[in-house]
Symmetry: D4
């Protein structure tokens, strides 16, 4: 990637063969490769050429160079181990999701952030219709250094969470919903109009972009 991150392929609109070809090419020159928005078919094509590639099925990500637990052994700076120590121990990202259907986007954020050398905690199924479940995670929320909030439908989770913490919140609207959700527009507008402070919004379903922004913020801490 041009900006200090692992090499990444955006799989949407590419055939399994195209993905496999690019993946193979990148694997020759980099020891950390990601392909997002990939199907099982794409993975089948990739492992024919790069047998050690892994598939993160919910996230739709094919990876190379990520340890099984998902956290990358290759950091965003050249001196990766120090980076891992400094961030992995004390600093972490929390990824929250509202509903089950939002999981693919949440997992895209999780795996991508891990590939960028971040420590990530998952806090899933905390949609605002059951506000007690969210509040039950309050202390966990407060330990994170950046929060990624993934929600579709009305996208209200971002505002509620941002009101509970003092750290940056990255809001990811998802296209989950139907009718007047208009493909994620309702969640997107809701997040842009957040009445809470400290919220930055990325494109609909853009779990990867949220991870990149979160990792950029995390790197700042070490500068």
């Amino acid at each position: 990637y041009t900006q200090g991150f692992p090499e990444v392929i955006f799989g949407l609109g590419k055939t399994p063969e195209q993905i496999a070809a690019i993946f193979y090419q990148l694997a020759q020159k980099s020891n950390l490769v990601l392909a997002t928005r990939c199907s099982h078919e794409a993975y089948a094509a990739v492992i024919r050429q790069v047998p050690e590639a892994q598939f993160h099925a919910v996230a739709g990500i094919i990876s190379l160079g990520l340890p099984p637990d998902g956290s990358s052994s290759v950091g965003s700076s050249s001196d990766d181990s120090s980076s891992k120590v400094s961030m992995g121990e004390t600093a972490s990202i929390a990824v929250l999701s509202a509903g089950t259907a939002d999981l693919p986007v949440a997992e895209e954020a999780v795996i991508s952030a891990q590939a960028m050398g971040c420590q990530v905690h998952r806090i899933y199924d905390v949609g605002v219709a059951g506000i007690h479940r969210l509040i039950a995670h309050r202390s966990q929320l407060r330990q994170a250094h950046v929060l990624i909030v993934v929600a579709g439908m009305e996208g209200a989770l971002a505002s509620v969470v941002a009101g509970m913490v003092d750290v940056p919140v990255i809001a990811v609207p998802t296209s989950i919903g139907y009718g007047a959700s208009f493909g994620g527009l309702a969640a997107l507008l809701g997040m842009l109009n957040s009445c809470a402070l400290g919220v930055g919004v990325v494109n609909i379903d853009n779990g990867f972009g949220a991870a990149a922004l979160a990792a950029t913020i995390m790197r700042q801490r070490q500068r």
Copy 2:
């Protein structure tokens, strides 16, 4: 009115003189008259013809026949006192608002509902960015029989509230906000996509319509 409510004038787009003329006319044949969306100028014109008219400045409502505390002595059914007893004592509507700027719409709902013979409680300034303030009102919320939730910007309050109670929630998006709020569209879409059950939505800024639906539900209780 064709549906058993007080006579109502919709003031938007009418001159003070037009409002005063219609108000005077209705006051001849009805002892409970409302005019919504009215300015101080409209009130000045009305009291020249109907000196006992009252002005609810935040709501922008001119009323006749409403006792000072706002609750009407004329119910929606012919036998008003019994209605007042049965509803006033045991059953009530709670009107919640997210921010200060939503007050005109919230007050339009409050005064309108009172004019329709309902007991109303105000729970204001409980926007989701300070979720603890909302949660502090939990028991009050649970005592209401119908909730009217008034919120602009991302309109997330409706979902959170509906998740906390088992009674009908009437969601009123407001045009409060700017930029990507698009005149209340963000709040409207958010409320229509509510992930919580039991929410019915009315038009943007339509406090009066919310009150009418709430009053209709309340009347059902007595049937």
Copy 3:
């Protein structure tokens, strides 16, 4: 469900296998289970695991614990029989639909409301282009305690019906139509702008949500 209703699976976007697995799981701990937005294939997968499950083909609902006629033997409160008596005899919901193409949404509302313990009457094919057909049902309309109006295209039925009755009207816009219907937007906007009072709107095609709001209102009558 968190709000006192049967367990419900939202089938849209889930594979038959996923639906069957969740259905089986819920059937272990609840004697009333619904899965909405399901295909015949999903039903085939479910009965392999839960042979007594029923399929409501027009509604696209798979149910468990609903008697053949669709009315649930399990009410929304723990003491279901009393609830059935009090509501079943004297109080009922009427579900109206405008055209044949709106039936899936109308039936989703009917079956869902029945599963929530409500007595439901169907009044179908009463679109406003044949206003006499609607008017012929006037007395039936007036007997209902809550009305659910399901209509696509211009969605005008909600306004006409709300003008004819004094009870709450829940308007469900459908995505039926083409061209300038924009996936149900025309009906949605029409219903939100209803010139009649007492109308609450839910999301496009959201028959289930309409049923939940209706059942919430019905429960209020017993409080």
Copy 4:
């Protein structure tokens, strides 16, 4: 006008002086002149130059050559009197409006159609929330040869009316409403998606255009 109608000035966006100047110019060469979308100020400017001009205040139309009752003594064909006889006696346009706020558009249609030599009947305040009022006018509706239906908010009147008659219905959405009416968009979409047959739609607030289409249809009857 280029198409066989009276000379017409579109007043919107023109100063009183500009309107007066064009009006004077047209009055030199034509004995039937209309200016639509005009204020009292524009009328004051016009009569300074063309003292015999009339003002139709609700319609916002300044006219020359229209008898006081509004019906033109100058027909759309050269042989006006025969046209008046044949159309005035047996054929007529009915202009319906839903609410009081729609009157300016309805009157724009009425005065314009009269200026185009048509006999016009007004059927006002027949919005669908009080369907009995509309039905009470059934026989009047059936006598008209073309119907112009003017309605804002949800615009449902066009569908209901078109279902009651066998003649062409010209639907005029108005910008009356607020919030989700989006300046008449809700009514416009509603009318375009009419489930009744025989409806042609014109632009929002375009009473004049509706009159022109109606007059064109009326002229066809004589060909």
Copy 5:
């Protein structure tokens, strides 16, 4: 049909089997049946039950009771032959289309209008980018009594044609185009904003609705 036209089935969203079943049913009680928006598969299903049904492949219409040339031997009034004489000889509808891709909608209008007892002339491929081709048809245009203009993309044909004739123009926007055509929205808005008089607009791709409005106007001529 409820409004004096042939029985019509709207095929969109119905399976071949459903179409065939309804077609068979209608064929029992009416000697003129249409099914619009039908595929070859639907036709195959229909002729198994109603062998004498015809398929108009470009229009996507299955018909019963329409002579091979498409013009119906059954008029819209009971006394069809007189109707045919009066209209067929002297009065006719012209259907214009802009491009080849608009033909399915244009043919839907043609076949539908014929089924409603109208004489129809086709004037195809006269898009405004080659204005001379349109002008070459000027005298033909002027002979028609009602014009149906079918155009996608920018939909400019309606304005140009309406400026050339003195008869009613029914504008049908089509969904032909891509990108900023937004499914026919560009053509729809263009036609609604026509700077020429005498234009009524129907829904996107609604060739059948245009025919119904045209036939309604034609019937007026005989009243």
Copy 6:
């Protein structure tokens, strides 16, 4: 200006005083200055500081260094006279407008293009509802080397003109219209979907931008 054109101030949203101050400043260092979107008040402020400034009232442009007839004596290249000879004699831009209300935008294009050293011809009031008027200008159209087509409402003029000529057509949608014109959106979409080839579109009301593109094309001829 960074791109070889005169210095230009965009007056929209600036006070007369701000415009005058910037104008004065630019007049010190350049002998050709334009300020677009200016009122009479702005002009009054400017001439107090730069008495020789001119006002082009319809265009809303204040200019310095443009001869009375509007054509600039300062070309876009340093050797202005040769530029004027080569372009002024043989090559020219034609600016077409559809209606009177489009004139401010058309004139903004004309004056701006002249200030950029171009020869400009005006062909006004050739809207498509009177296609013969446009066709009467055919030979004039064919003499131009670039055409700027200014039209609001449905914006159809661009397609018709582009079909008549072989040279580049720059389409300028205007915000003229009301209702479904949505501030020029209808014209913009129409022009983007032009079925004729050789059309490039600029922003709504952007007569200045159209002139800049036209002048850029004209300069190419000399390279």
Copy 7:
């Protein structure tokens, strides 16, 4: 073609058989034929009837009469060789694209422009996120006489490029992106609002239309 270009078939929405039939027909009367938006299947059908047809797979164009390198031996004027000399040697179009996914549209522009007799240079993968790559091509950019800029997502490339050159820039938004790209709307709006001068915009994905406008401008140079 009516405007002096090769014969072109627009393949979108046509079956391979339909494309092949039209292609064969045009090949009888023209020695330069293009079919755009074609699949491999369409090509297979075409070569069965016109064996010498070529397929430009990325562009999705089937051509006849274009030399292998893509540049046409048949110019847009009758005297093609002179045209080739004058344009091929000194004047050329540069086609820029932002990302890999934009290549089909960029190649549609390239092949189309070549077929119209233009010399074309490709400058690919110069998206604004790596501005140094674009700047590295500065001298190449400055040699072109017309630039076609193809970009999806935010479409920012057009503004940056137009600020770097003095020649006409034709901006082609693509539908590449997801979520808030809304099918190319984001890029389209971005390009229409370009803060740089000299930009004309065509429809989303319209590489062919951009080529036609560019070729029209190039032909002007020779007039």
Copy 8:
């Protein structure tokens, strides 16, 4: 403010008297008060009650407790001086703006961020149409720890800047523009679709919200 920032009044839609009253109230209990979106009239009202209040005219901000140079002597943490040292010396925010008209939003961000205890650098007038001006600031850009990019029209600046730096970029679309800018929608969509990584977007014109997110990120550095 509820989240550890200074007390802030949102002035939009409040009268000068309302702003002054709230300002006075907050000044009693806090030594750092801001009021955004304020006019000169509001400032006049405020200083009558709080004479030491300052007005930042371009930003439209009234402040109390901010030293003349704009940087607050009160940090966001209780121990302000240490905070100032740690952040003021080594860490800073850069605020970039594209055009002059974007300055009010940029200044709102600057003053707000200063009030939150941040060191801020202004980099103004670096719109992408003059990319060299932006590139000339490259080293300055690279010294900042968070960038706020303020741009209207096409909003392309955010993508270009994010591609040049490795730190978080907060993109603020402005409502600057006209026509197809649709009140900032074009810039908003452009920024959401940024092809560069590390961009978080806030609402249109929300300079204050951008400052709050930036300050939240800066505080993270010290944790």
